[in-house]
Subunit: 120 residues, 2 copies
């Protein structure tokens, strides 16, 4: 049960040291989040009512070229945070909640609700 | 209240798009976590009974030089995830729970407990 949450499914960072394999896997996802453009893209996708968003609604929010935006979206997809589907002219993106829930769990301290009001 | 959690203190990624300033700040911390060595160091510090750990107990877990470990610890410190104090020969490290709680909150979807068993 080293570094596992109560359900035994996922490592939790503060419960016990991560092993090397767990750390390599998790670091890939955190690295994908370690860029402001990708964080904003992910938040736009995650907060979209209806659950999906057209790339044509993402691009205008940034002063960046379409290929640059597509590159950032590809990195989020490779990290397992989002998926997409082409329909006609446009590509549509949606959140894969499993990955983001896993990361939130990894960072949640035992006995601490995430974003607890009492945290320092 | 754009992108804020219920207490209004912190952005939550899936509640609303992050603004540029929030994204820049958060990306710095996620970037610090985007490395397997730093993730393992942080989990060793976070899971330490008594709340702090000597650098002399961190280094032997890695096949890396003391300066390399110190560099990774410095990046975690600059991200606000840990702090340290020198006492005699050794430096002691401890977790700053506010930063990790904030990140967990950012990643927690509205109405979803972190690491929910029912997530896909």
């Amino acid at each position: 049960m080293l570094g596992q949450d109560e359900s035994g499914c996922c490592p939790t960072l503060p419960a016990a040291p991560l092993d090397e394999e767990q750390a390599v896997e998790l670091a890939k996802v955190f690295k994908a989040l370690g860029d402001p453009v990708r964080l904003r893209l992910l938040s736009m996708i995650a907060s979209r009512e209806g659950g999906e968003i057209c790339v044509c609604d993402l691009t205008p929010a940034f002063d960046l070229s379409q290929p640059t935006i597509s590159h950032h979206l590809k990195l989020l997809r490779q990290a397992g945070l989002i998926d997409c589907e082409r329909r006609g002219t446009w590509v549509y993106y949606w959140l894969l909640p499993g990955t983001i829930d896993k990361l939130a769990g990894v960072l949640t301290r035992t006995g601490q609700p995430a974003a607890s009001e009492g945290s320092p």
